[in-house]
Symmetry: C2
Subunit: 257 residues, 2 copies
Amino acid sequence: MATGRTHRPATRSRGIPEATVARLPLYLRALTGLSERSVPTVSSEELAAAAGVNSAKLRKDFSYLGSYGTRGVGYDVEYLVYQISRELGLTQDWPVVIVGIGNLGAALANYGGFASRGFRVAALIDADPAMAGKPVAGIPVQHSDDLEKIISENGVSIGVIATPAGAAQPVCDRLVAAGVTSILNFAPTVLSVPEGVDVRKVDLSIELQILAFHEQRKAGEDAAAAEAADVVAPVVRGGAAVDRKGPDGDMPAVMPA
Amino acid sequence: MATGRTHRPATRSRGIPEATVARLPLYLRALTGLSERSVPTVSSEELAAAAGVNSAKLRKDFSYLGSYGTRGVGYDVEYLVYQISRELGLTQDWPVVIVGIGNLGAALANYGGFASRGFRVAALIDADPAMAGKPVAGIPVQHSDDLEKIISENGVSIGVIATPAGAAQPVCDRLVAAGVTSILNFAPTVLSVPEGVDVRKVDLSIELQILAFHEQRKAGEDAAAAEAADVVAPVVRGGAAVDRKGPDGDMPAVMPA
DNA sequence: CCATCTTTGTGCACGCGTTCACAAAGACAT
DNA sequence: ATGTCTTTGTGAACGCGTGCACAAAGATGG
């Protein structure tokens, strides 16, 4: 994951564990799919498989929200969609600003996943005067001079930072000072924020490095194994993927997004 | 943190805890910054501040790699950069393919962070014949018919999926069958892969939903607090950020860059 | 060579998160 | 009504990750 994680240390908000909160969107997505196919109810086992998690974990997660299931039957899909949406705060409108309209910022502005769940791109902001007025994804880019005004006029509380690393902290400071209390940071920098402000980071480079670590580890093991079996058979790299195995085998390396 | 994390459950690879592996890139980035400023040594306290973590945690993390510090002095910056790079497998070249050259895929191709650390974009692949041959970020897009050939000819073991959700699983299957064993997935889907293949996911929508949850919670608390203090003072939204304080309450998450 | 001071490396305790396993609850058929 | 069968909800045990606090190690100065 994208780095996901990193933020509120261990403060369990309103009794719901942070780990559970992080999985709710996953369940919601799976449920939405079922809803579109008009499936009326679903068991914890089925839903868990669709979300790529353990069924016991799913049941415990839901138990934090309340008892929304019916024993012997399962969960009502529509009802659960509503409950989770409400719990996540998706029943209300969240205006979002994106700061830094470069390659990534523009891609984010165009990303459909934003609008799909109550998030509305209220404004695009960039420091380059040449960008001002130019429409990206149908929204005119505004100059960062007006950042404070844009935030307050639109009642924005969530900001997305897609600037170069050097500009991220200053931008973050201005966002926070203007009233933003949640930040999604794509810049490869550690942001410093006052208490009460949530920051989540997404760092492609870090994700790749983590993959590289495991990749190297696998290669090392392969080499060792190959060396041992060298006399017998040549090294086989990239064997075909046959035994498609559930995301949960023991542990799933699966992921949603 | 985007999403960061979610993947290998609890398998500690080669004795190094997964949580530690996830922080190594953070340390590496901080150290690179120090290196560029020609700082010779750094204490765990300083480096921890720069990486936004607890100093005890940092020391414990490094202890898994070996004893690379000098008591009374700290850590040698250059030496540590090398050790971490080696541990992460960044001393070798990692050819990467990006599948799905839409808005996001193109942004990723243009992203400088890729090349910066041993990752090389070996090829861009898209299913749209109209894209074939068109250069993106200086690299000609190739058609997905040639996916298997491209993977094997370039010895690619890491793939990035930036396709629409519906295409992700089929693409994933082909990548894995062709020899890819690590996947970074940007598509909003749970991928099913055979054992031995690592998948990390980055999902903007999920990150935003998690932020929305906390945002809603904060709003609720504010409302309650405001209600209580209502007679005394009006609600103040977005007070200025004065006491720059680490996100951790206890320890400062400071940052350079 | 000894004393002092700084900083690492780690033993230990604590808490969150995961998983198992089962009792309770309800649906459904007879 | 009663019994059976399915599936939830959760008590309890376990393991990983975190942070404290300190002893050991080494540098530095006299």
